[in-house]
Symmetry: C2
Subunit: 194 residues, 2 copies
Amino acid sequence: MFSALHQIVGQFVELDARENAILEQAFTFKKVPKKYKLTKKGEIATELFFINKGLVRLYYEKGKEEITGFIFKEHLFASSYDSFLRKVPSLQTLETLEACELLVITYQKLEELYVTLPKINVLTRKVAEQRFINGQQILSSFLLESPEERYRRFEVQHKDLLQRVPQNMIASFLGITPVSLSRIRKRMQQPSSP
Amino acid sequence: MFSALHQIVGQFVELDARENAILEQAFTFKKVPKKYKLTKKGEIATELFFINKGLVRLYYEKGKEEITGFIFKEHLFASSYDSFLRKVPSLQTLETLEACELLVITYQKLEELYVTLPKINVLTRKVAEQRFINGQQILSSFLLESPEERYRRFEVQHKDLLQRVPQNMIASFLGITPVSLSRIRKRMQQPSSP
DNA sequence: AAGGATGCTTAACAAAAGATAAGAAATCAG
DNA sequence: CTGATTTCTTATCTTTTGTTAAGCATCCTT
């Protein structure tokens, strides 16, 4: 149940048995169905989720449309970070795309961990750094690449998600409409001159 | 010379006189002219810069074009973070837009600081979290807003930069061409029906 | 299995942005 | 101060995307 968490945490900091036990106690296990909202827009996110199994989507609402901002896979820490860290009402909703098995830690428990296990500062620093770098790569793809190029990159980097996530969600994640993504896919099938 | 650094650091962690002295010793002061390259594409970034005075631009190269990825103002920590943290050749160049006064810390000195002053983990964690949140806000503006809306937001959030940064750099930062930004500005001047 | 929702594709048209080029304006360096 | 870059605007044309709507397929639920 905690093996994936230990494995991921172990990539960032070394913990002994006692420390691992303290870490485990800070989390609770939770099983939720598909389409379950982990964090709702307008509410303050008090929980951070480690995904043991399943997929979680982060989305914004623009009018009555849902714009996907990120898709969290297994073994990632998912949260509406802005809300979680700054304690402001979330602009984002976190919703499962599949039935999920999660390890949940509250903001308060995490703060306690920082005191009882200061090493955790190193862990969260490195996780934050990694997420920042990841975000920057996505951002740079908006500056440097066309929608078609972004989709090609998505295809190779997230082959698995192509089967697990509806195309309209991928489209909004790429910053385009579903119609436009459909056209791009068609364009890509046809090599060149007809 | 260190007053701004202390003020900013103080927002994240409390340091006593001894700790502040240790912090200061890790940095060196550097004055550089306009158009000076602090980090070059292809090289590994070994330094992190705290900007006492001046402006620093981060840009990518796309063909022979320079695409601005970020503009660092006074009292920010500027770096090619991906390269700095992962020790990989940088895809980005950091170049001053004005003559700058900087406090410089090397990767090695920073690693030493983590040992001699573990509190610094808290500082860098919070700085990383803040930069992540900031990056996420920029990213969401690409998903949710039109180029015109992004420019309007830029206008209000960075009035000062409008005078200090050439428009073509603002354009690429917004993900559009200079020509397109010029059109948007014209459109915005004319209220509605002529 | 049937009905209803959801998701994907396609078409037609409008709106916006990219590319290229030329000229005006501002800035910089000697 | 003046010639030379650099920057900004404007115009024209092309390409792409957005919008709306319709049709079809697929998935889910009862």
